[in-house]
């Protein structure tokens, strides 16, 4: 990351709490780690001159939980519990690339039905994540009401996820070689046996129609709001070359006009069988980042609707040994998570757990561009830009 702290020029911590005099050469404003809108414990040491920021230094690590190290002393099935908690807004989506990497090492073919259920739940997690953004972003620039609408609509999806997996935020639902079967399920021959709850397809259909209606409502209420447009259009423009050179991915990269989506280029889930569009932005400003995510909600809802039509019958799980041992080797699988590209680099020495697990998270790479983009902006815009990056601190610090 570009913004490592230079020990010679370390931000002067006590300055933030003591000095009240304004020198003409500006002051250091310490935003976070306890601040209402840093989404947790991100700390930004901003050098400001009046309202203008001329230097920002993100300080990370307040929430470091050592998941990469913890994974080394856990068995493969146990790691799922950990990765759920990386980006807690879309817990299910975190499991997928790890499972895919492990299965690649073990050379397991996952049954189609399990893949489709994974796909449905991943897209639901994406809808959840984007709804949280949709509610939190207007809050960041001063509107409280959309938050309540967004939470209400997210709740429909969370209920569906809960009905399948038993967990709202941390499903822990994937198993190596498939998904968790319901008790005594066995191979399923027709729809609506024990792998998915009774009435799941109908409920999903209803919920997705409501989600599509909610997306329209958001486009009208939030996107059509003059003040919202004034605050976001042309603010925090991120050109595509800067974005890609900093390793920015996901909706932020797409908002800058790069049509890059791992769902269409890789095959960790059967996205190629389904028909969806990749929304991209034109200007790469905050409004585009908001709008791209809103469009993705629509695309995800359509994907779920297609998937519940196309879902094949069959077993949920490949036969795997009781004690899972992964053969020696290395694998890297990346996936398009709601926040961007997430990848797991698994190194196996043939043991019960990974020898080393490197987790590439989207938020960490995405916020590395903050110092570049925040240079010279006003303090109110700092929040507008930071909010549009939609990062989760668990995803940054791991």
């Amino acid at each position: 990351m570009v913004t490592t702290i230079d020990p010679e020029n370390r931000p002067f911590v006590s300055e933030a709490s003591v000095s009240v005099e304004i020198e003409t050469e500006g002051m250091t404003l310490n935003i976070g780690p306890q601040h209402p809108s840093t989404h947790g414990v991100l700390r930004l040491v901003a050098k400001v001159e009046g309202e203008q920021i001329f230097n920002v230094e993100p300080v990370l690590g307040y929430m470091h939980r050592g998941y990469e190290k913890l994974a080394e002393v856990r068995t493969y099935p146990q790691v799922t519990t950990l990765v759920n908690r990386i980006d807690w807004v879309s817990g299910f989506a975190n499991e997928i690339p790890f499972m895919a990497a492990t299965e690649e090492l073990m050379e397991i073919e996952v049954p189609q039905r399990a893949l489709y259920i994974r796909l449905i739940l991943t897209e639901m997690a994406r809808i959840c994540s984007h709804f949280v953004f949709n509610g939190a972003y207007p809050l960041e620039i001063g509107a409280l009401t959309p938050l309540f609408y967004a939470m209400e609509d997210r709740e429909r999806v969370l209920d569906l996820i809960e009905s399948v997996t038993g967990g709202r935020f941390h499903p822990n639902f994937n198993r190596i070689g498939g998904i968790k079967p319901a008790a005594g399920a066995g191979p399923t021959t027709k729809k609506d046996i024990q792998d998915l709850p009774i009435g799941f397809y109908k409920e999903t259909q209803l919920a997705m129609e409501k989600i599509l209606a909610a997306a329209d409502k958001f486009e009208d209420l939030v996107g059509g709001n003059e003040v919202f447009r004034a605050r976001t259009k042309g603010v925090g423009v991120l050109p595509y070359d800067i974005a890609s050179s900093y390793g920015v991915s996901g909706p932020i990269l797409r908002a800058s006009g790069v049509k890059f989506d791992l769902r269409s280029t890789t095959d960790y889930l059967p996205y190629k069988d389904l028909d969806f569009e990749i929304p991209i932005g034109e200007n790469g400003d905050c409004y585009d980042r908001w709008y791209v995510r809103l469009q993705e909600i629509r695309e995800s809802a359509k994907l779920v609707l297609q998937a519940i039509d196309a879902i094949p019958t069959g077993p949920l799980q490949t036969k795997v040994p009781k004690v899972i041992k992964v053969p020696k080797g290395e694998a890297y699988v990346r996936a398009e998570n709601p926040k961007g590209e997430m990848g797991y680099y698994v190194i196996s020495e043939g043991g019960l757990g990974p020898y080393r697990l490197k987790i590439r998270t989207a938020s960490f790479s995405n916020i590395s561009v903050l110092p570049w983009i925040l240079e010279g902006v006003l303090i109110p815009d700092l929040l507008a830009i930071m909010g549009s990056f939609d990062f989760v601190l668990g995803d940054v610090d791991r």
Binding site: A16, V18, V20, I22, M27, L29, N30, H35, P36, S37, E51, P138, L139, E140, I141, G142, A143, L144, T145, F148, Y149, E152, N225, V227, F228, A230, R231, L378, I379, P380, D381, L382, L383
Partner: protein, 326 residues
Amino acid sequence: MSFGLELLLKVGVVAAIAPAMALGLTILEIKGSAYMQRRPGPLHVGLRGFIFPIAEVLKFFQKEDIIPAQADRSVFKWAPAYIFVSVFGLFVIIPASPTLVVRDLELGVFYLLAISSLSTIGVLTAGWSSANKFSMIGGLRAAAQLIAYELPLILSVIGVVIQAETMSLVGIVEAQKEWGVPFVLAGQLIAFLVFMTAATAEMMRVPFDMPIGESELVSGFLTEYSGIRFLLFYISEYINLFVMCAIASTIFLGGYHIPFLPLDWVNFYGPLVLIGKTFFLGFILILIRWSFPRFREDQLQSIAWKILVPVSLANIFVTSIMKVVF
């Protein structure tokens, strides 16, 4: 009645009415926002949610009054009083009927300008004395905003003053009685809109709440306040909302006057009519507050200087011409 006794009575009545109106507007705001946001709490919990605002106010009494170690103690303590006084002082000129008024000042509009600008001092001192950078920035933003919007606030009233040929608020209402329609329908619609916009900014309500924007400045100049001092700010905010809306309804909507009602009974229905009009305007501001994000600081300033001031100047110009021609 001696002057002292009269003064005491008037102060007592205002002191009783002001918090009651603030509580009424708080209830309206909490219930209104709860309806807009479909929040079950304020709608259904505890006496259909009516216990909520009371709990909200009582909560502050039991909280510790924290003064930061680095704060300028006396300034910090007195800052809420400035704001409270400036808001309270505006009650003097609001007429609830031709006779039910604390003092019908000849220069009522000037008094409005003078007293309402006092709150700038309170905001600045609160922001400066807190020994907190967020408070400091909030205080400076607030001061800049209050000064910027004072101008359109007063300029928009001047059109009315020209039309009514008086600066006294009672006189303005009486003039509207003579016109037959309130000034908002008698050519001062633009002035009314400018006044309401500027008043919203003076009150630092959404979309002009940049000085206390909780998502960036934590709570602006209020950040370090807690307990009873925060309550003073909080109550002043709602009293201010009431006062500003009351002044707007007096100047533009005919105040205590309502057509087709017997003028002899104005002392009885006048206050109710005024409160009704005031709460109507307050409700509109509440709707706006819960529908909009906030403007950025530079956008705020350019709205004041580039739109509101020229528009209100043009309004004065046109009103003067109309006055001379007709």
